[in-house]
């Protein structure tokens, strides 16, 4: 097995997700299948190959530092589950 149930639980926490026990089991199996499949890449020697993070050779997409109109606060907040006095509201942290 490439990945264990306890690793799945750890990764779920990193991803801010939770699963019930039957889901954990099926996710472990499915993720394991996928990880076994992708380990196919180990067949290739890439020690001298530069990684590609972007399909085009773009560098420094600069633009003029100009003030442009932006959306009003009320519009931005209009989709927020909870808002108050021009701010997003979150559960108490401290």
């Amino acid at each position: 097995m490439k990945i264990t149930t306890s690793e799945i639980e750890y990764v779920a926490h990193l991803a801010r997700l939770s699963f019930d026990p039957s889901e954990i089991e099926s996710f472990t199996r499915q993720l394991n299948d996928i990880l076994v499949y992708v380990s196919k890449l180990e067949e290739l020697d890439t020690s001298r190959v530069k990684p590609t993070t972007h399909a085009l050779q773009l560098t420094n997409a600069l633009r003029k530092d100009e003030v442009r109109p932006s959306l009003p606060v009320e519009k931005i907040l209009s989709n927020a589950p909870e808002r108050e006095e021009g701010r997003f509201v979150v559960p108490k942290i401290i």
Binding site: L17, Y37, V38, L44, V49, P51, A55, L56, E82
Partner: protein, 487 residues
């Protein structure tokens, strides 16, 4: 009077320009068509009838004064629900965005509005564009108009099924690993993924940012060129969009393929390729040869590694992009939680469907401490090898020709319980996204069961014009699809 819904965009433009028909009449014909057939096909998530009719009245005013009329003025379109539309709900096929109403338009929506195009509504898709069958939509699956027991493909299944069932004149989709080309192929319509950077992604909800690209789905190649003209170009709000001269893509719709070399990648004709698909694709290639193209065999040796590469890179980028759905700024927030962490976890666990969770998990795992080199870095290196394969191939040919998918449309439910099998249906479309090159799917025949088959054409960066020339010649050689899947 022709049947309005049977006409292509350029044919509609001709009769609109002559004032034989109004944009309101065309829009009403489409709204009736949606009422009539969409309950069976389910391509739409939202129909914006009132907005469409108001836009049609505006278009008619422009047409009457012959003021700023373009080939898209008065043309009713459908938009994949991953593209932000100001004031119109944009769900991405997800419950987490069920009530999300964007306060702004994607750049391409501004462009379409400037043309006077009409939006009929928002089209169904796999949740966050993750899937190959539209079965991962949190709302309902979409059905293939050629056989309603089958999938229209995905993730832009609604965009392809709506064009094929004539519930819009043309549509926009997005393609991260084949999500425009594969459904276009399954539904017998034309679908183009432009070069990465050709079309602005501003307002396209992000899945895998280094791979995503918006593109058109249409009845024929001429419509494809018209739509590409309208949506291409640099945008200061998308720093990965490219400023580069934009040709008029309709100039590339010329007969004859003299001086064109067509490369046939041998790795795309493997065991597992459906014999009907192989026969049709080879027939299309010989038709192109008879129109003057020279045909050579080429090799893309790393093709077999593309799916593995993609299923590391795309989930890694997705896991990062989808962290924004945390129940704070927009989207779902569960009502019952103990504290902030609990709110995050419950909101995300209830809001996302299984495939999205699967990909977030793969991505989070591959980016987590200790695994970066083995997975993400390795995949990014193989991505370089796949890109080099294409560069080498394009030294020998102008355009590559191959199948879009190993089979025609599969049955709904057939692959939903086996994620890896589903991923492998994208084997021929994924390499194009990894290399950032353009690709198009053009209908090239039917299987013995009467299901559409697509020919995929691929070209170098920013060579969409070449794709359109070859695709146009294929349409001339084989004829446009005259049989409609449902009357």
């Amino acid at each position: 009077m022709p049947i309005l819904i049977d006409l292509s965009i350029h044919e509609l433009h001709d009769i609109l320009s002559r004032r034989d028909v109004s944009a309101v009449e065309i829009t009403k014909a489409y709204l009736n068509r949606i009422d009539e057939v969409d309950p069976k096909i389910r391509a739409y998530l939202t129909v914006t009838a009132d907005k469409a009719l108001a836009q049609a009245e505006d278009a008619d005013r422009r047409l009457k004064k012959a003021d700023a009329v373009t080939p898209l003025t008065g043309i009713p379109m459908g938009i994949k629900d991953v593209i932000c539309t100001k004031g119109v709900r944009t769900t991405c096929g997800s419950k987490i965005l069920e009530n999300f109403v964007p306060p702004y338009n994607a750049t391409i929506m501004e462009k379409l509005e400037a043309h006077g195009a009409i939006m009929l509504g928002k089209l169904n898709m796999d949740e966050f564009a993750m899937g190959s069958s539209t079965e991962n939509s949190a709302y309902h699956p979409t059905h293939n108009p050629w056989d309603i027991e089958r999938t229209p493909g995905g993730s832009s299944g609604g965009s392809a099924a709506s064009v094929a069932s004539r519930t819009c004149a043309g549509s926009l989709g997005s393609d991260t690993g084949g999500s425009i080309r594969q459904p276009a192929s399954y539904c017998g319509v034309v679908g183009l993924k432009p070069t990465y950077g050709r079309v602005s992604r501003f307002g396209l909800v992000a899945f895998a940012s280094s791979l995503d690209q918006i593109g058109p789905i249409s009845r024929d190649v001429t419509d494809c060129a018209l739509l590409l003209n309208a949506i291409s170009g640099h945008d200061y709000r998308d720093s990965t969009s490219v400023s580069r001269n934009m040709p008029d893509y309709t100039d590339s719709l010329t007969p004859g393929l003299k001086n064109y070399t067509l490369g046939i990648p041998k790795e795309y004709f493997i065991s597992g390729l459906d014999p009907d698909v192989e026969k049709s694709v080879k027939h299309a290639i010989s038709a192109l040869e008879s129109h003057g193209a020279e045909v050579v065999e080429v090799s893309l040796p790393h093709t077999e590694y593309a799916v593995a590469t993609y299923y590391i890179i795309a989930p890694a980028e997705a896991s990062s992009n989808l962290f924004r759905y945390d129940g704070v700024k927009y989207g779902l927030r569960v009502s019952d939680y103990k504290n902030l962490m609990d709110m995050y976890i419950k909101t995300r666990s209830q809001g996302f469907g299984p495939e999205v969770k699967r990909r977030i998990m793969i991505g989070t795992y591959s980016l987590s401490a200790g695994y970066y080199s083995a997975y993400y870095k390795k995949a990014s290196q193989v991505r370089t090898l796949i890109t080099r394969d294409f560069k080498k191939a394009f030294e020998k040919c102008d355009v590559l020709a191959a199948p879009v998918a190993p089979t025609a449309a599969f049955r709904l439910g057939e692959k939903i319980d086996n994620p890896l099998q589903m991923y492998l249906s994208d084997i021929f479309t994924i390499p194009v996204n990894l290399a950032g090159i353009p690709g198009i799917s053009v209908p090239c025949g039917l299987t013995s069961k009467g299901l559409p088959i697509g020919l995929q054409l691929m070209a170098g960066h920013f060579e969409e014009a070449k794709l359109l020339t070859v695709a146009y010649n294929m349409e001339l050689a084989l004829g446009r699809c005259e049989k409609w899947p449902i009357p």
